[in-house]
Symmetry: C2
Subunit: 259 residues, 2 copies
Amino acid sequence: MKLALLQMQADLTTAEERLDALEAAMASAAAAGAGLLVAPELLLPGYNCPARHAAEAEPRGGPWEMAAADLARTHGVALVFGWAERDGEDVWNAATAIGPDGTVLAHYRKIQLFGEMERASFRAGDAPPPLFELGGRRFGLLICYDIEFPEHARGLARRGAQAILVPTANPAGYEHVQRLLVPARACENGAFVAYANYCGDDGGLAFGGGSVIAGPDGAVVAAAGTPPALIIAELPELGSYPAEAISAQLADLRLPDGA
Amino acid sequence: MKLALLQMQADLTTAEERLDALEAAMASAAAAGAGLLVAPELLLPGYNCPARHAAEAEPRGGPWEMAAADLARTHGVALVFGWAERDGEDVWNAATAIGPDGTVLAHYRKIQLFGEMERASFRAGDAPPPLFELGGRRFGLLICYDIEFPEHARGLARRGAQAILVPTANPAGYEHVQRLLVPARACENGAFVAYANYCGDDGGLAFGGGSVIAGPDGAVVAAAGTPPALIIAELPELGSYPAEAISAQLADLRLPDGA
């Protein structure tokens, strides 16, 4: 399967502009033969616009999910994207996976909210990150700060994740995440990790780009620099990696009492 | 505090040769003002000599521990080193921390034995990795493969470790450990990780060198290449690192049921 990451310019201001950018990327991904595209965190309505999160958040099954499902179906490409989800009084920092036929495959509410803005805007998720099957592979979902904690990726790997998809909004100055922690999560779990970030400035907050797909050997499968980018790469079969390239086999783990 | 790592040539064959090399390193470390030296895994009697592990293993309080304590006391430098420990019928892949006055500060038996040779030679440890205090800092001990699993470093960090010391014997071809996983463990736990390896060939097994001290920001504090080396570096105060350089603050971790 070919996987596409959309590294989107952060300063698109309306949900319509953002859906247009997503549609262009979906069309390009389809033309390149990608089976799945991962877009950044809070693609809708945007990341650094706290006043708009609660004001514009949509429910599950609402117009944003419908628009995303239409794009997936139109282009025959599965899609993972972040969005502000309203459920009654609660607003969540969510991500949804949609299959190429437009059906919802998985929904996730971010567990590890980052910083004061997110904690003021969103309620933290309290359900385990979900898994879904696509193209004969098992994928897991996390969002941004979640991947910095080894526990969440490990939990997905224990439940069989072969690739972990991570919409993110990682500011400039935090490049240790895409340079170091994303490849480490891949290597220590023998799984792919795909991290789709913004670039450019969004209302005074600069994003670092550097979207990356890391392989189970910790090496970069594909990565973007700091400009806007669509990166598309074939995910090799996990079995094609030599066993010694994959670290800390989960089956080997021993935990003494009290450790 | 200045920390020294001894990256030792692997092919020294007798325990006496190895103690001589350790003594020379301790003298240099003392002259350079180091307060603590970390030596590789199974410094005594050696790594790739399985027939000698059971044959030469010494008990706690035996001649190897006494010799190491003498070196620490003579040079006024604390010491962490790996050795084959016999306790009745059991042989362990152990590491001991000895204070500058020659007292034993901590003892550890490797939990994650790596590969068939180690599993045939040693019993796996079943006690949590230990902590000890030195120079106003709290240190933890792991050995080699242990550090590739996020769980063991995390357990030490939860128990207050500010620096994790790791005697290792990491073969050439596994450089993703020192390049990626050691810095990631440091970054995700907001702690230093020091990884002291062999270099050169030991009975047909080539070691990769690359001994490294990684900081809580994931950056390299000091590192060796592939030749024999003694690296000595000041460990900055943890508080001197900006908060945004340290990832995934442990206090932030949330684990939903079933995750």
